[in-house]
Amino acid sequence: MAVLTATGLTKRFGGLTAVKNVSFIARPGEILSIIGPNGAGKTTVFNLLTGFVRPDGGSVSLDNQDFRGMSPESRCRAGLARTFQIVQPFRGLSVLDNVVMGAMLRARSIEMAREIARQVLSDLDMSALCDVPAGQLPIGDRKRLEMAKVLATSPRALLLDEVMGGLIPIEVKRMIDFIRRLRERGIALVVIEHHMNAVMQLSDHILVLQNGEPIANGAPAEVTRDPVVLSAYLGANFALSGS
């Protein structure tokens, strides 16, 4: 089982420091949520973790393997997978073939990859959609497909970027159940989510970012009582009068 560690991650885009000195540890069988207002740098943290963006400072490691200089492909091969906030299906391909793309990583042949893909799709109750072109799926199913693709790579650590966005309540509930099952499998999970209800139900730890900086870090109950967090989310006046 794998421990994902980020240490002092920093990224500047020109004059803007998008991510400043972010550190955390995500442990197997635990869910770490990263929350914060729009533009707080949450997705940039994911891009730094997965190697799509090079950091100006800090490091990422999975267990004891330092990811410095490694490409997104290599990091996925090492066991770190992600979903995209704006889902990235292979539009022209069927749902099954989309998942086969992920399953190829651990399969020796396409036939084997297809077996794995069918299994993953059945876990997500998507078996009926196997032959549907991914471009024709409604948003809820696209989010699930995004999940199915990365799960097919058998990740040891998984980054989920707003997988609840655009889902209707019943779908949110199902997604929460599913993420819990992933936690039980011993995957280290890092979740970016705006859906606060889901965050509170799922998280073992919460990291709060504002303007790229961590402003709070702890158990859900602590973090939501933290005046700094309340003022960041709801404005300084509310935090003062509320406390």
């Binding site: 997978a81 990235q88 299906p89 292979f90 793309m101 042949s109």
Partner: protein
């Protein structure tokens, strides 16, 4: 509904299709028709080779005529200056083309979309101009003539019909190679790259070495077509084996027939050849340029009616009809 994966689409249909193609020059044995079919087959083989990289990986190359021409020149020069059989020369040409493709690919495959296209266009132009200027080696603009010495080991035949079947063998072999690659992890990885590069990377799919490898294979295979071209015409000159027109045609045939499908380039090559032959036969002596104009109009029309290429569009149309009927 499960996709139709019956033996019909798997093996039966291609075998039947190739049988029809093989019968064509026997049924219509008139020399003009046989020549047209031969060129259609050779074009289909070249377009199949182009399609491996241009269609499956979506790396649109407009410089493949350089590899085609290299195949023609390498085998011809070796044959004329050293007496080496084109049967050996074609492999050497393929190796030269593949090596050059690896070199070019390693530099340009990091470029995205139209920038890659531009780089292949430039590469094609450089090789074309080099062939014109290296007079001692290539004979310059006037080209090289191959003496008519019919024998199988010279790959020269008195009966033109034999070339038709040589070209058809290339079509069948290249089609089989395409099917094998398309059904493999390599094929899937190429399609993943074409459909969404970032998504592919996020799933741990390493495409750069595969894309370079398939580009090299594509260059090597099309180079073999170039050798057959040289032996068929017994004449090689820069414009006819390396011209930009040729590169455009390889791409066009695949696009018209169905980009990134195994049968697309064959369908496209047959259509494009039939149209251009018919146009030339009926409009050839009328107003000059009318042939090209009509040809372009037909290509545009086809792409308007069948934007994904004739093959896939016909398939989708039939499928709609079937579900409507059932």
């Amino acid at each position: 509904m499960k996709p139709v994966r019956s033996p019909l689409t798997g093996l039966l249909l291609p075998v039947a299709g190739f049988a029809v193609l093989a019968a064509l020059p026997l049924i219509f044995s008139d020399a003009f028709f046989v020549a047209a079919v031969t060129l259609a087959f050779l074009g289909a083989a070249a377009s199949l080779a182009w399609n491996l990289s241009g269609g499956y990986a979506g790396q649109l190359s407009l410089g493949h005529a350089a590899f085609y021409g290299l195949g023609a020149y390498v085998s011809t020069i070796l044959f004329l200056k050293a007496g080496i059989s084109p049967l050996i020369g074609m492999w050497l040409g393929a190796i030269v083309s593949a090596a050059l493709a690896v070199f070019l690919g390693a530099i340009t495959m990091r470029l995205k979309g139209s920038f890659f296209v531009m780089s292949t266009l430039a590469f094609g132009a450089v090789v074309h101009i080099s062939a014109i200027n290296l007079r001692d080696l290539t004979g310059g603009p006037s080209g090289l003539a191959i003496p008519l010495r019919p024998s199988p080991e010279n790959l020269i035949f008195a009966k033109k019909l034999i070339y038709t079947y040589v070209a058809l063998v290339l079509v069948i072999v290249f089609y089989a190679i395409t099917r094998m690659i398309a059904a493999s992890k390599i094929g899937y990885a190429l399609v993943a790259f074409r459909e969404n590069h970032d998504a592919a990377r996020a799933l741990g799919i390493r495409t750069l070495p595969l894309r370079i490898g398939v580009f090299a294979l594509s260059a090597g295979l099309i180079s073999i077509c170039g050798t057959v071209h040289a032996q068929y015409y017994l004449y090689v000159d820069p414009d006819s084996v390396m011209g930009l027109n040729l590169s455009l045609n390889f791409a066009l045939m695949a696009i018209v027939g169905g980009l990134g499908t195994a049968y697309g380039p064959i369908v496209g090559a047959l259509l494009v050849s039939v149209v251009s032959v018919v146009m030339q036969a009926y409009l050839g002596d009328q107003i000059s340029g009318l042939t090209q104009l009509a040809y372009a109009a037909i290509v545009i029309l086809v792409l308007l009616v069948a934007p994904t290429g004739l093959g896939p569009s016909a398939h989708a149309f039939l499928k709609r009809r079937m579900t409507w009927l059932s």
